[in-house]
Symmetry: C2
Subunit: 479 residues, 2 copies
């Protein structure tokens, strides 16, 4: 294992060679060059003995032929050619290589032997290897994008953010996560598909993200963790500072068996894994959907929230639908959240804006108030509820329609910021207005969900992280 | 309570009066007239003393002034005016009235008294009342659409289907479900928002759908069930014939309390409710998202599937992503599904198409085979797996990309049909290709989900219903 700064060559290289570059469109070796020429600020060196030039740029017959050794080489050639490429890189003085080609351990014993050969060459030259069987990595600042799928103008589309993503597994699952990244579902700092992790593994990448000031939270999809102790050590360092969300399958024996045959590595007893992850403060989820949704939550709001007490777990629901409030209450209790018993002063203040016939309680059903006072009632009610010293987090249940033009986004955003408390929203109703509602709320660091269960899980994750941050800070009262 | 055929006047009236009709666009009373004139085949009579004509149609000053009594009246006037309207309807001989206006029991004691007055008038004239505080109903064949939201050309957009929907609760939650209906998320036979159920309640509507040959399955969002015994009796009649999916909140004490304050009706101990629903064969869910997704499943495929045994619960996963297979296995076990131990003959047949180094197992990881044989490998593998007498249902985990142009939709559809077994799909990857994939699969009655957990829950619901159908048929082997 090298030291962490080895990874700087991958995330912030001065120059990149693409081995396996080609002029044939729709091929990965073409996409790599096209993406890099468009989005990477340093020199890009296509390498392929069959071409003089690719996309107007000189093409070299080998890495050693490049006048100045590139800091990073991205390799996309048939598996059997990879050891030779590594030799070439080694002779040229390249110290960082991403091998994206498949055909290694994931295709059986022969591929595994090929990996061993590659590793032997890499060690001989002191090369760090990323992959194989992966789509590489993305860094939004400075910008580099190594997936071999064509993504025109990707540097303009990918706004820098604070979420780090680690995906193990082959190209498909990782490609899926990359798709979320490119679609703008969340704003990332760095996204990593580590593949077969022949050399660089999830622990080393996680340590790098732990150190990275631009990464404020991390979601990871893992299939096996060989260096469990080291992984937990990094997780513990992140605890209360950078939220870490993990999807790791193999909880049931049948799934563990499938994981074993798929990754050819011991998955470990899940009970032990689960206990250890909990102790290290890791937030564990069980579905890709949940992983993406918590990634969204922490990408929208990576800081811990102010809690009313060290165990702060009190939730208020402000809802335009009584029935939605009931269902949300059930889901919140399922998730182990407490429905806050509102303070007397809160109830009195709510009574002053509620219709007379309606005694306020939690969930706070505000539809009759909205009918009387308009959508400003959302802000008025929220202000009262956020001031309650039993409330740690609030979910707004909002009906989407054209009427949202008059929704008090600005005031709600300010109230949330000033209170320092967690605020999220579930939206239902007319789907044509979902996108606008979500975008406006996101401007104020408020995540929006269209399924209630995800919204509740995100609030739970926010509060868990905030409790850990508070406990790490000494548990005292906050300013 | 009247008899079931009373509801024919609501679902298939010959003529409709709209009381509270107006020329002011964006008002509910305008939308009702506009929607009905466009989509309803019989006469539409606007009623409002202030207008001579609305949208080119003669407007009447009262219902009694209409020369032939309309079979149905839809009422959207301020709550306090509703008793007078009911008197007018009664004098005119109208026997069916949908009251959409809010301002009744849901706004406190005064509104509750108003409801009692309305009921007294209705009983005096033998009028059946739907609502108040609701958006009414939709029937796709013959077509009628009474929600007061404007839905241009709704009769062209709403293709007839076999799913029945019942939503209690006020206008918001019901409006949400109507939005799903209008968006084409599922194809419905009848959709009902029953509101405060002053007279007609969920039991009467459910009984009507139980009798309705066009309705093959029902999803219901309920807040309270006063006539629990009657409800369960209808549910038991549906068991094994028409799947019934229910979302009923109030499982936790805090939620039950919220339900109580919201609906002003006793919700009942949830343990008793839950046990009784299970015994009656009802499929219970806990989130709107799940209710909609199971509605989709039964709308796409309402018939029971062929099982390999009376307890048929064996699942096979065919996946292009090993990691996805592991996560799906965990979710299937969470849901109580069994991973089928494939028969020896199946494993041998799979081995013949798999690469040599890859011993087949369940989950069936087909990516290496797809790489060698192309997307036809999906059909080849599916054929082998469906023939296995331990497999009752299959989930395909598919990566969406441009390559799906070559996906063997037709052959997969035929295989599923011939086998009579449950087939569903989870799709991930490039979101731009999700819509096309889902539409093509739906043509073959295969539902597609973008979150794995929903896909697994849908398979569980399919198998539960199929077991009940088989047990109702006597439990013997099927043809």
């Amino acid at each position: 294992m090298g030291n962490t700064s080895d990874l700087d060559r991958f995330f912030a290289p001065h120059s990149v060679a693409v081995v396996g570059a080609t002029v044939r469109r729709e091929k990965g070796g073409y996409n790599l060059v096209a993406n890099l020429l468009e989005s990477f600020s340093g020199p890009v060196y296509p390498v392929n003995p069959n071409y003089q030039e690719i996309l107007g740029v000189r093409c070299y017959s080998s890495v050693s032929e490049i006048p100045e050794p590139p800091e990073l080489a991205v390799v996309f050639v048939p598996a059997r050619a990879v050891p030779g490429v590594l030799e070439d890189c080694g002779r040229a003085g390249v110290k960082a290589v991403v091998v994206e080609s498949g055909g290694f351990a994931e295709v059986g014993p022969e591929g595994r032997r090929l990996e061993e050969t590659c590793l032997e060459v890499a060690r001989r030259f002191g090369i760090r290897v990323w992959g194989p069987n992966c789509t590489g990595l993305v860094n939004t600042d400075p910008f580099i994008f190594t997936p071999f799928m064509r993504a025109p103008n990707v540097h303009r589309r990918l706004e820098p953010g604070s979420l780090g993503i680690i995906a193990q597994s082959g190209m498909l699952a990782a490609g899926f996560m990359m798709q979320y990244v490119v679609s703008g579902f969340f704003k990332v700092s760095k996204a990593c598909a580590i593949g077969n992790k022949m050399d660089i593994d999830e622990v080393e990448v996680l340590q790098y993200l732990e150190d990275d000031p631009k990464t404020r939270s991390v979601v990871a999809y893992l299939e096996s963790v060989e260096r469990g102790r080291d992984f937990l050590e990094v997780a513990r360092k992140m605890r209360g500072r950078k939220p870490l969300v993990v999807l790791k399958g193999g909880r049931h024996p049948e799934a563990a068996k499938a994981a074993l045959s798929h990754t050819a590595s011991l998955a470990g007893s899940d009970e032990v894994v689960d206990g250890a992850l909990k102790q290290a403060g890791v937030i564990r989820v069980h579905d890709f959907h949940d992983l993406m949704n918590l990634g969204k939550a922490f990408s929208v709001h990576p800081e811990p929230f102010r809690l009313t007490s060290p165990g702060g777990n009190g939730v208020a629901l402000i809802t335009v639908t009584g029935g939605g409030g009931v269902v949300a209450t059930d889901l919140a209790r399922d998730a182990g959240l407490d429905l806050a018993r509102l303070e007397r002063a809160t109830l009195e203040r709510l009574a002053a804006i509620f219709p007379e016939w309606m005694p306020p309680s939690n969930p706070v059903d505000i539809w009759p108030t909205v009918e009387r006072r308009g959508l400003e009632a959302f802000a008025e009610t929220l202000q009262v509820v956020l001031a309650d010293e039993r409330v740690d987090g609030v979910i707004l249940l909002t009906f989407a329609s054209r009427a949202l033009e008059a929704f008090p986004f600005q005031r709600i955003g300010e109230l949330a910021r000033k209170s320092g408390k967690a605020l999220l929203s579930w939206v239902f109703g007319d789907v044509r207005f979902f996108g606008e509602y979500e975008a406006r709320m996101r401007e104020h660091s408020i995540p929006v969900y269209t399924d209630l269960r995800s919204c509740v899980l995100a609030l739970r994750a926010y509060l868990q992280f905030s409790r850990e941050a508070r406990s790490a800070a000494g548990g005292g009262p906050e300013a």
